[in-house]
Symmetry: D2
Subunit: 342 residues, 4 copies
């Protein structure tokens, strides 16, 4: 249920109403609805709660039912696209969020030289894994907190933001100290405890689509994060699992226009995991931008073949530079998704 508030309502009044509703046992979230402020009632509606209970509050103009299962992530709740501003870098706006870097942070020197290289070619966010989800317990599991420190220092030194994956509820507090964006990996898209934990963080969250998650489940995973109070979620399409084995995954680019039609949140594309093959990274990145994706996540390494993980899908700074040229040319023609919404 959505309480559409009168247009002139002040933030203070809204917050007072929220307090009263929470005291009555409802879970709520402050949202916007068209040009009106509004409050979404997320739970507590079981039993005989009626529209009449709410319409009597003087701040409330109208009571609207939820028209779908997305109370917070849906387009019907918020018409304008969400733009996430992190230290001046806007994600979901006119510019592209270009996240680039190695699969795993291997050493202080490695991450620094890669940071320098990707910055030079046009990246604005440095990626790098410190906690690595590995199918086998005997594969390299990442450098942990010291890796995060190397990442942060390299990013700051070269004027980049940084993003890294958290795999465990107990790593969130640690990761928050170092990174600008917390990443939830594909294998954890259904890890509801972790989704809630990052939902309580102040950091924006990059949410990767699960290996076999439908669009509906992808949106509801974001709903988990938002329902805990974190409004800054960035979707990332990174390929789904199909019968085709030539590519590592099948990059489902239709996710870009579908998610942008269903949700106000930004979506980026990861062509590295989405294909698993070096020579497909640039073409698929280009196609993603032609689809008005809000950005890219690309695995780049100064010596791709010696990369400790994902070597086959990792590109060199030179290849990344060429990719950025085509991407920028396409972006100039197609623009961002901002306009597509109207």
């Amino acid at each position: 249920m959505i309480l559409l508030l009168k247009r002139q309502c002040q933030l203070q009044q809204i917050q007072a109403l929220v307090s009263r509703l929470e005291f009555m046992g409802f879970t709520t979230a402050i949202i916007e609805q068209g040009s009106h402020p509004a409050i979404a009632i997320l739970s507590g509606l079981e039993g005989d709660v009626m529209t009449e209970h709410f319409i009597e509050f003087p701040e409330v103009e109208k009571v609207l039912p939820f028209t779908n299962k997305y109370k917070l992530v849906g387009r019907d709740v918020k018409n304008t696209k969400t733009v996430i501003n992190i230290k001046g870098v806007e994600i979901g706006g006119k510019d592209l969020a270009i996240m680039a870097g190695p699969c795993a942070i291997e050493s202080e020197q490695q991450i620094d030289s890669i940071a320098e290289a990707v910055k030079a070619k046009g990246a604005n966010i440095l990626r790098g894994g410190a906690f690595k989800p590995r199918t086998s317990p005997y594969d390299f599991q990442g450098l942990g907190e010291s890796g995060l420190r190397f990442l942060q220092e390299a990013a700051q030194r070269h004027g980049l933001l940084c993003v890294s994956e958290v795999m465990d509820v107990n790593d969130v507090a640690c990761a928050e100290k170092y990174v600008d964006i917390l990443q939830i990996g594909s294998r954890n898209m259904h890890n509801f405890a972790l989704l809630k934990a990052v939902g309580r963080s102040k950091r924006p969250v990059l949410l990767k689509r699960g290996l076999c998650a439908t669009y509906h489940e992808f949106l509801l995973a974001a709903e988990y994060i938002m329902s805990e109070g974190n409004p800054n979620v960035i979707f990332c399409e990174r390929g789904i699992r199909t019968f085709e084995t030539y590519t590592r995954n099948t990059l489902d680019l239709a996710a870009v226009p579908v998610i942008q039609a269903l949700s106000h949140l930004p979506i980026i594309v990861d062509p590295s995991h989405g294909t698993g093959i070096r020579h497909l990274v640039a073409p698929m990145a280009t196609a993603a931008i032609a689809l008005k994706a809000d950005g890219l996540m690309v695995e780049v390494h100064t010596d791709p073949d010696k990369s400790l993980s994902d070597a086959k899908q990792t590109i060199s700074p030179a290849m990344f530079g060429e990719l950025m040229q085509t991407v920028n040319a396409i972006h100039a023609v197609c623009g961002s998704a901002q306009c597509a919404v109207e």
Copy 2:
């Protein structure tokens, strides 16, 4: 096995050698290898046939083993991209092959008005089904031969080529009289008898990817056609079946760079069947062209909602016109796949 012939060999000499080889029990095909003429030995190599048997022919410069399972469709057999010229329209060259029209031919008037509309917006090939593959035997099955006649007349009247699907070996001879390109639908990609039948035709063949066909199987289906003597095959990526049900299929755009890397044949994309949703057709078409696809196949109807089949994925001439504008803008930036190969 490939017999690389001496560069100065004349067509007459090559044909004489082919006759001799066929007389000896081998199946062969004349191919090109780099700048050399060459003959592929397709079968008859069982038992103790040795390289020495061939090297003695004076026309033969070198005997090469097949390096993979694609004897005719593979890049290693022919380095230059195949350009199919049909009455002046080139498929696989610098320009785009834009096939547009209704799912099914419904009447003489319907196909004529659609032909006029799509021609005006930039299509060069008219599509329309006369024999319809329908999951249920009780659904509309198409107008048959009279439909093909309406298609041909509409195409000629408006200066378009035309393409239509054949579903049965016994329909090939009939269809050849009317259409410029024979289409093999997804459901028949593994219908080997039909593949061989169109392989014996003089008409180019548009081969749609099967619902759950791997790239490897897709290439081998083209190999079936080529091994019967028809060198003009056009691949068409049209979506695969996955767990996602929001879209009708998952359009696997990575097929474009993958097939272009493995084969010298052109590939186009069908975003209508690939998504099944009207508002996704234009974005996915744009992405396909950004990936240097050689063309598009799009379902267009002057009254989409009244389309006898596939109404949900069919767009109006106006939407098609907008699509073409973006597609042309992207094509101007990205160019065709010609250059990508070097």
Copy 3:
């Protein structure tokens, strides 16, 4: 639409009514509905045909709408299970239909010795491919008509029925002369021209599920065959294509109870193609019989490792003998699906 006829209607009256309806432009089929004779109107109902048009015929007791898309294969059209009697062997009844033999007929001697072996172990139907659907045009394509003759002679010599695949509309007439059951392979489940062709045959049809066909599509493929007049269709679950690559396919055993709940036609299981791995054939066959499948199709070769195709999934007569022992023990406990329906 179903015309429920009066119980006392004689066959002659029913046939006269059918003639009249067909003359009026309807396509029809004689079916049974509970204990009543009935006529299904398959097509011709477009426009303003009304229930009243039919209720006036004196033979008609009631006009029923179709409750689903299966006019002929559905349980709601015919409550009692279809039992197909071929020269005394009943398929769909109390006994099991055990189809065994090589993937491909390789020689007269080979098929004869396998026929002898599988008969001795309890098979009642000999399988063997004469027209082979091969992914590559360069793989062994089968012996053709002479293979069918070897198959028929071996079957007759050892007191077995025989079944073989047809791949082309033009092969049906030839195959009918030799085999008791015409098989439609997975790759042709959507080959509607072929489905119609075997629908006009007098021979029962073994219909294999397509690689990525849903239950709904599987049922409608049988509907295609039945709508042409052939009431004797046997379903065969043979595995679907999924992301798992360890097994050749994922054998979807739930198809057995699902299809038996939705249709009155028998269903058997092919654990050889369903798994692709020799040591899984017997366990999965056992599970199929525990699920009350009406039979099995198993690839058996006297020298499995030298089998010209499908060697990895082919078992020896000795393994087949052990399989039959367990299968018979399970069948004695579980019984056939006959009872399950009530």
Copy 4:
């Protein structure tokens, strides 16, 4: 690397050697290899560690390389099947582990009456969810710790063991106090932090297959648990996600013989989630037992239609009773997998 120890080695000697190896920086596990005790070196082997370093220890008879990626779960590491004994109930032995109960624990009374009912029909382990993984954050999330207490009390009152899912690393300590078996749900099969956490528990772990996990990934998830020291892992096949939407999932019964061939650990089957349809639960349970699965997990509710979650796939105690009769009849014929291994 595996250090095969001399047959006469005493446990004390082995433990002393382990301490030394761990002091040297290796991670190890005590395993058995044929009839020999052995120590697996799990990590620390990077760099220039050589076979010679180990062969000098007097306890070591031979140094073996790992032949595959499963250092602890594989058949090659341990030939005899693992039997997990929990308070007298053996899982992986001759008897079946029958886990039955509601999807979610709803109240003290509900779980008690279901416990009584399933015990009477032959279950030996009570299931019930206290922490529920729900796709939407607004669905019922379970009773938490008080649910676990109700579960434990109901189980003890009726002479049953109990199993419940943990979703968060931080819930493991709490759950251990109440349940006999910790369950890892499908959505967490790739939650490596959680796998490690239950790997450090003394409780056996029921590991459900991920929605799109391959057998290989399934085995490696168990490897994660075992590599932390917990040898008692029970696999559970519960259906995979495919294109088929009629059933909730596609129950991949081939997993039973495949996993039993590759691993010494027991495997059970969940036909409730595996099909999502009430009338398919009993047939698929029967098939699983015909395949020598080591047990079942079935959703049972005294009032299935009022079940707070998974109502459609939940069966009544009466249906469960009939299921058990068939299952026991089949088990009497087929026996357990013990013998199958020889």
